[in-house]
Amino acid sequence: MKAHYKTAVTTCALLMLGFGLLYSTHKTINVSAAAGGTITGTIKLDGTPPHQKPIDMSKEPACAKEHASNPVTTETVVVGPMGGLRWVVVYLSEGLDAGTASQVPSETPTWDQKGCQYIPHVMALDVNQHFKVSNSDPHSHNIHPLPAPNGANHEWNRSQPPGTPPFDQVWAGQEVAIPVKCNIHPWMHGYLAVVKGPTGVSDANGSYTISNVPAGTYTVTAWQEVYGSQSQKVTVGAGKPTTADFTFKAK
């Protein structure tokens, strides 16, 4: 009886020690890995997507003309060939170490207004990452992001006459995602996803890539403007790509 008890304790102790060692070595490897791995995957929609209403831009003749041949529809759920779901933001919601989280990419993406649409419809940004807002149309636009009230981000609302230089903006806190409206053209609607660390946005085929991910175990979250968020745990090894696919159910 007693012996059994002793063996049990020792095995547990050894096991714990072993795990401990394993973990610590793991850590050291991780630190040495310079170029992180990547997370890729495809996002699919299961079921029939909701009808995307065509947008009538007759109020703004210039835009109406621009889209005369290829009518524009709403972009709430955009499904590509083979059911790939577009405009899904994928980011690391858990597991990031402080160092990576605080890094701010140097490039400044541009949020363009063209043909009375936001290009891109959904843009992922890092916290404190600067981005430019530009107007390629021959008429004024208005940019009115509506972040959650009393959060780290503050609502602003300004117009951009044609031919004026792009202006620079930045968001202070993580928020997935900030809806952006044009007050002059009610149909213009887009999202700015502000997240810490590396992110990806799914393309027309529903596939995305998050690069420069340090090896480690993460919770990967995919956000879609209609279907909300999904998460899964993945472990990223040094340098080698990890896949994480998501499937949203059509309501």
Partner: protein, 267 residues
């Protein structure tokens, strides 16, 4: 100096009158059944106002011309008619004039606002929001689905906050960004404001009515001429006010039906 001033007044008065006389600037052509009365009222008023304008400016100019030369020893004279004469003139001329205008004007106003729409009038709903008009046709069932303010979403183009899944009436409602109406058919327009005060101004239709948030108004009119006209907002509603407009297509019944079918298909 004074004579020059008199001449200046005269010249300005005449120059101001020329564009009116030559009708250089005039309201767009009227395409409504009730508009004629308004136009008559306008030209009526234009005559009386124009005459009073010219008459008094010319009189003023003449008086300045005549009485500015201070001949030595000349005594000031008083107007023979005296004050009471002028007061009487004001009451008789202007009083009668404007009261007549007012009374005749009642007709023009009344046949727009005090006549109920015919029972066969076609219902159309217009919703004004920052900064666009959207229109709703009841569809085959002739009934508008209820508006759920909490469901209104410009992102998904659900401008009226319809809920087809739970409201049968809303299923066949047709929402459009342009207003099309059949020619020579009376329209009963239901006006709903989504956010702030706006105004529904169609110069060609001689229709001008504010949207009142929290109070849905109704107007009715009949368009008599096929064509493409403009609806603009004339009540300051925010930064996009200048660009708040929509097109009004007056179509033949046939074209209208086709158009409505096309729109229905796109819902």
């Amino acid at each position: 100096m004074a004579k020059f001033f008199a001449v200046t007044i005269l010249v300005i008065a005449i120059l101001s009158a020329i564009p009116i006389v030559r009708n250089t600037w005039h309201p767009v052509e009227d395409i409504s059944t009730h508009g004629q009365a308004i136009d008559d009222q306008l030209s009526e008023t234009m005559w009386e106002a124009g005459i009073s304008f010219l008459a008094s400016q010319i009189l003023l100019a003449w008086l300045i011309w005549r009485f500015s030369s201070n001949r030595a020893g000349e005594k000031t004279k008083s107007f023979p008619g005296g004050a009471m004469g002028l007061v009487a003139a004001a009451f008789i001329l202007v009083g009668v004039e404007v009261l007549a205008l007012g009374i005749f004007g009642v007709k023009a106003w009344a046949n727009l606002y005090f006549t109920p729409p015919g029972s066969d009038a076609m219902p159309v709903q217009v919703q004004a929001g920052q900064f666009a008009f959207y229109f709703r046709y009841p569809g085959p069932d002739g009934k508008f689905g209820p508006i759920h303010a909490d469901k209104i979403s410009e992102a998904s183009q659900n401008f009226f906050g319809l809920d087809p899944d739970s409201d049968p009436d809303a299923k066949d409602d047709i929402v459009t960004a342009e207003m099309a109406i059949p020619v020579n058919r009376e329209i009963r327009l239901l006006m709903h404001a989504k956010d702030v005060s706006h105004s529904f101004y169609v110069p060609a239709l001689r229709i001008h009515q504010d949207f009142v948030p929290g109070l849905d108004l109704q107007i009715h009119f009949t368009a008599t001429k096929i064509g493409r006209y403009e609806i603009v907002c004339s009540q300051l509603c925010g930064l996009g006010h200048y660009n708040m407009k929509a097109y009004l297509d007056v179509l033949s019944q046939q074209d209208f039906d086709d158009w409505l079918r096309k729109e229905a298909a796109m819902q």
